[in-house]
């Protein structure tokens, strides 16, 4: 909402030394936030209004212009092709100052100018300013007097303040509302600008035969009057200028007055051309599907049941609270006007405005929720201005549909509570003073809330009012005096932070990706359409198809990140993400929330990293949490197309998958711009939580020496060393089995491999004797040959 400082100053006498910065800073600090402010034009000196008396063409497109200044006539030579006799223009006299420069009036082509006609730029304004001709000549409305100081006439050097009004304060979408805030902020009285002469309206059931019928819940009040003997002409200059400064273009007296009252008091108003109504009733109802209306902006709107309309009993004549219809609009021939001051339900207006993609000054006010009693206040001012500006004649009879009256809010004033909420000890009298300044009447400890402060409902609201004007900056700073609370992360939260730190220590960069995606990405990683991963939570109103589903796997986001790095020619990328995937989408059908599971997702492309490096890093992380102290298995991944079936593994405990990792399937890689060696993996965090062991129990160090024996075997290539090691560790005295050589190729049969292990044997009870060692080794060779079909080489 834009308001000029000069307009506000009509209400509040600010001290001379108060600067614009003081105004905006202090208003912001009391809650009327200033978004920005701009200076209106540049003050000038010795520039006056003058009427063009005569225009005589001269050489080179120049004209000799005679200007009437009431007491004198002056000559100017200028090239202003669109200047016309009768124009009222700004004229700089000798000694004038515009935009800080002295103006010298000189001789042009042998003719001496006695003055200079100012360009709009000379006043610090731009071509968008109304009343500017294409040449840049400012041509004042003709009710502007001549020989007046232009700086004063335009209010140059005024400030246009753009306020950001919070949605709870629709009363501040008006000059009156902001002026009130300004007055309290500077501890000054707020003047009554117009005599609120209650028109003593007689509420009747028809005015001039026109009745009002409301058929929708969305209209809470409809106040209607009729102006007769209307003469359409420009509105008074002062009114036009104020509207211009608020960013509203003047149109004609009738339209300008409705806009002016809207800006002044905050109630949107509408004027219909009575003669184009073609009926004697106003019916407010929801539109019918298929109905259309051409609005004032010349666009035909398709309406449906969600839109509220004003009708003439037959067809829509306005989209209620948003915009009027073109057919019933005011034009120069209008001589009788139906005036509307209504109250509509905010959600209805907001929905219609959104649906029609049409936001107007009216809709932005209505959608905040206006006070119902505001309609009569606005009608008062409307009638006042129509009469006083000679626009038309209004009677005292109005139609006022008003069934659900606005309730009068009363709040019991609990001074202790007010202070307790904000942590102050403000004396009761000071609290009373602030509340009364706001317009609250205090009767027997009860605050009677003014009708337009619909935001004040409970004692905490009064606390805020007191705090605002007492000064948020003056509130003391204390710390909560609760009983001792223990600040800590939960065990799971600690694990979560630790696992992230471990990933980083292992060289992975942490990434953040979007948790929604498109199902195309699942196709891109060859996910089977029957897979549970394909069953994703769907967003009903996604931003775009790209963000339509909640992800069930974070691998696609990871691959995108890798791809983005690769296409940007980054030599290597080692990434991880700790974030959620969203499972059990079917819960939604039952009205329940889904399962949100944290996973750690890995992705690597790097020439120097191979499968074994990656596996070791995953194991390092799992070992840190002692997850692998459990009885676990390593299995090939056969059911996930995203992995290379021969170069990928899962670690499983009791059927719970702890981690999956391996090379990206070359088939999937075809769908991406990625190098040859890409590794991906997932750690299922919930299973870390399930199988980790944080209990530290010291195990006595061995007292007896270990012996080492090497053994070499030839075995089927398919056998996993993990299975061999796991089995051998069950043999008595075997403490550790360590693979130190694998060989395939010459001298080894096709489909076989040679493996060499070092076996560490130890007893906790004694030093092992040769015979016990030999027995253990015999057991080992037996197991290897019988259970693993291995040939013992040594």
């Amino acid at each position: 909402m834009d308001v000029s400082l000069n307009w506000l100053k009509e209400y509040v006498d600010l001290d001379e030394n108060v600067s614009i910065k003081d105004v905006v800073d202090r208003l912001t600090m009391t809650g009327t936030k200033v978004e920005k402010y701009t200076k209106f034009g540049e003050p000038c000196e010795n520039v006056f209004t003058a009427r063009v008396d005569n225009v005589k063409p001269y050489e080179d497109g120049l004209s000799i212009i005679t200007l009437d200044m009431e007491d004198k006539k002056l000559k100017a030579v200028a090239k202003i092709p669109d200047i016309e006799v009768g124009d009222i223009v700004p004229v700089a006299l000798p000694g004038a100052k515009v935009i800080g420069k002295d103006i010298k009036v000189s001789e042009v082509k042998g003719i001496k100018s006695e003055c200079m006609i100012c360009h709009i730029f000379d006043l610090g304004l731009d071509m968008n300013f109304p009343w500017v001709k294409t040449s840049g000549l400012l041509c004042f409305p003709n009710d502007v007097k001549i020989n007046e100081d232009v700086s004063k006439v335009l209010g140059l050097g005024d400030y246009i303040i753009e306020f950001e009004i919070t949605p709870n304060r629709p009363d501040c979408l008006s000059v009156e509302g902001i002026a009130k805030e300004l007055a309290i902020t500077f501890n000054k009285p707020c003047k009554e600008i117009w005599q609120y002469k209650p028109y003593n309206f007689n509420v009747v059931d028809n005015v001039d035969g026109v009745r009002v019928r409301v058929e929708t819940e969305n209209c809470k009040r409809y106040t209607m009057n009729i102006a007769e003997d209307v003469v359409i002409k420009p509105s008074p200059y002062d009114m036009q200028l104020k509207l211009v400064k608020c960013g509203i273009r003047p149109i004609n007296n009738m339209v300008d007055i409705t806009n002016y009252v809207m800006v002044e008091v905050g109630e949107p108003l509408h004027a219909f051309d009575y003669n184009k109504l073609n009926s004697n009733e106003i019916v407010v109802r929801q539109a019918r599907s298929g109905e259309t209306l051409k609005t004032l902006d010349d666009i035909t709107r398709n309406l449906d049941e969600t839109n509220m309309v004003i009708t003439n009993g037959k067809e829509p004549i306005a989209v209620a609270g948003v915009m009027g219809g073109e057919a019933s609009g005011i034009n120069s021939n209008t001589n009788k006007v139906l005036l509307e001051s209504a109250n509509f339900v905010r959600a209805s207006i907001r929905n219609t405005s959104k649906k029609l993609v049409l936001r107007t000054d009216a809709s932005t006010r209505y959608e905040k929720g206006l006070a119902r009693d505001l309609t009569i206040h606005a009608m008062n001012r409307l009638c006042d201005l129509i009469n006083s500006t000679g626009t038309g004649k209004v009677s005292n009879n109005i139609v006022d549909f008003y069934e659900e009256k606005q309730t009068k809010t009363k709040i019991e004033i609990d001074y202790d509570k007010i202070n307790s909420v904000i942590g102050t000890n403000i004396p009761n009298e000071e609290i009373d003073k602030i509340l009364e300044d706001i317009g609250i009447v205090i009767e027997d400890g009860i605050a009677l809330i003014p009708y337009n402060r619909t935001d004040l409902e409970i004692i905490e609201d009064l606390s805020e009012e007191v705090a605002r004007f007492y000064g948020y900056d003056k509130l003391p700073m204390t710390l909560p005096s609760t009983e001792l609370t223990f600040g800590k992360k939960t065990h799971t939260q600690r694990l979560q932070d630790e696992i992230k730190d471990l990933c980083i220590a292992n060289g992975f960069n942490e990434i953040y990706t979007y948790t929604f995606f498109s199902k195309d990405l699942l196709d891109r990683i060859n996910i089977d359409k029957n897979s549970s991963i394909y069953n994703c939570v769907k967003i009903s109103n996604p931003l775009s198809q790209e963000f339509e589903y909640m992800r069930t796997t974070a691998i696609p986001s990871m691959l995108e990140a890798l791809e983005r790095n690769y296409t940007k020619k980054n030599e290597q990328a080692k990434l991880f993400e700790f974030a959620k995937i969203f499972l059990d989408a079917d819960n939604i059908l039952k009205g329940e929330l889904v399962t949100e599971e944290n996973v750690v997702t890995f992705g690597i492309y790097d020439k120097t990293t191979d499968y074994y490096d990656f596996k070791k890093q995953i194991e390092n992380i799992l070992n840190k949490f002692k997850v692998l102290d459990n009885d676990y298995e390593i299995k090939r991944i056969e059911d996930k197309n995203v992995y290379h079936p021969g170069i990928s593994a899962s670690i499983v405990i009791n059927g719970d998958v702890i981690a999956e990792f391996g090379k990206l399937s070359p088939k999937v890689a075809l769908n991406y711009i990625l190098p040859e060696n890409v590794y991906i993996g997932t750690i299922y965090f919930k299973n870390i939580v399930k199988y980790e062991n944080s209990d530290i129990k010291f195990k006595e160090l061995p007292k007896f020496p270990a012996v080492e024996r090497d053994i070499a075997i030839v075995i089927d290539d398919d056998v996993l060393t993990f299975d061999i090691e796991k089995r051998l560790k069950t043999v008595d005295y075997v403490e550790r089995v360590s693979l130190f050589d694998v060989y395939k190729g010459e001298q080894i049969e096709q489909g076989k491999k040679s493996m060499a292990y070092r076996i560490y044997l130890r007893s906790n009870m004694k030093t092992l004797e040769e015979q016990e060692i030999a027995e253990a080794m015999n057991n080992i060779t037996d197991i290897l040959s019988s259970e693993f079909n291995a040939n013992i080489r040594s």
């Binding site: 904000i422 060289g507 769907k538 009903s540 109103n541 931003l543 009205g591």
Partner: protein, 340 residues
């Protein structure tokens, strides 16, 4: 005989003094103290010495042996050190080279850095970390937070809906009510988390972003407590000289409400590019928990009061690290990531 021994001793000492390495030292040792060494032979031949001289000569020979042994021992130490020193001299490498393939540490994402640092400060002040679902009910996201059905934030344009009643949470505030329902005052929590709004991706917007919510509920918790808490936070996080400023504002779930600015940590409040010459940077919204929210959390507003606050993590990360475009945070370019 005595003279022979003294000459032998002098010769040996002389030789020992001039040995250059441990091999030479060993040679000298063998020459005099070896099985067939000169001094050994003298000692072995003591039997043929006249009995009256024997004791004297024996003592002398033994003294010489001890003396030589001592010299050899110390010479050995000396040579060992010398040899290590020489070896060290020859072992000079280009200390400016690094191994190419060694795993460097990874980097924490800037959003995590901000979240972790803020968590640490509040944990130090006795707060716990609360969590809640990202796919949330409209009850917790709106109704319980005093945002009625006709509240603008519920619009389709702002909120991503799954069904009429289930949405992607638009704020971390629903965790407030979830926490209140599960815990009795005193409650002191913060809740970092992902939130979603229907904003197209641009330099300052993202349909997914992060917030940190804070909530304190107990008897007599006041806005002054909120101010003191945030002041302490600001000083810990942005530096001791940081000041805070409360400006009135409006949120449906707090009353009174405020927006909070910190004095610009780049220019100290004088005005610069970071603070757009304001001297202040807006960092969060806050206020006293609205009684309707306490009621939704099954807490009696007559007995208890509380405050709540909420940060935008991206905004803090961007101002703190000088990140010019929000999209960098989600593009995950390693050239970006490795700067943190």
């Amino acid at each position: 005989m005595q003279e022979v021994l003294n000459t032998l001793s002098n010769n040996a000492i002389n030789l020992l003094e001039n040995v250059k390495n441990s091999e030479e030292l060993e040679e000298v040792r063998v020459k005099y103290l070896g099985k067939k060494g000169e001094l050994t032979l003298v000692l072995k031949s003591l039997g043929s010495v006249a009995p009256e001289e024997r004791k004297q000569i024996g003592m002398l020979a033994n003294d010489i042996r001890k003396k030589l042994e001592n010299i050899i021992e110390s010479k050995k130490e000396e040579l060992k050190i010398k040899e290590v020193e020489e070896k060290m001299k020859s072992e000079k490498i280009d200390i400016s080279m690094s191994k190419q393939n060694l795993n460097a540490f990874g980097h924490k994402h800037p959003l995590s850095i901000v979240i972790d640092d803020i968590k640490e400060i509040f944990i130090g002040m006795g707060y716990s970390i609360a969590e809640g679902p990202e796919i949330e009910t409209t009850f917790f996201n709106f109704d319980a937070l005093n945002a009625p059905l006709d509240h603008p934030s519920r619009d389709l344009q702002d909120t991503m809906y799954i069904t009429e009643d289930i949405i992607l949470r638009t704020q971390t505030s629903p965790v407030q009510v979830r926490t209140m329902l599960e815990n009795k005052p005193p409650i002191k929590i913060i809740c970092p988390g992902r939130v979603y709004r229907s904003d197209s991706v641009d330099a300052t917007h993202s349909p997914m972003f992060h917030q940190i919510e804070g909530l304190v509920v107990d008897k007599n918790i006041s806005m002054a407590d909120l101010k003191g808490t945030l002041n302490m936070f600001a000083k810990k996080y942005f530096g001791d000289k940081t000041e805070i400023r409360f400006r009135p504002h409006h949120f449906p779930f707090t009353e009174p409400s405020c927006e909070v600015d910190v004095s610009c940590f780049v220019c100290g409040g004088k005005g610069c590019k970071t603070c757009k010459n304001e001297g202040w940077i807006e960092i969060l919204g806050a206020g006293q928990v609205h009684p309707n929210v306490l009621i939704a959390g099954n807490i009696d507003p007559k007995e208890y009061q509380g405050f709540a606050f909420g940060f935008g993590v991206e905004r803090i990360a961007m101002t703190k690290f000088g990140v010019s475009d929000l999209r960098y945070l989600y593009e995950n370019d390693v050239r970006f990531l490795s700067q943190f």
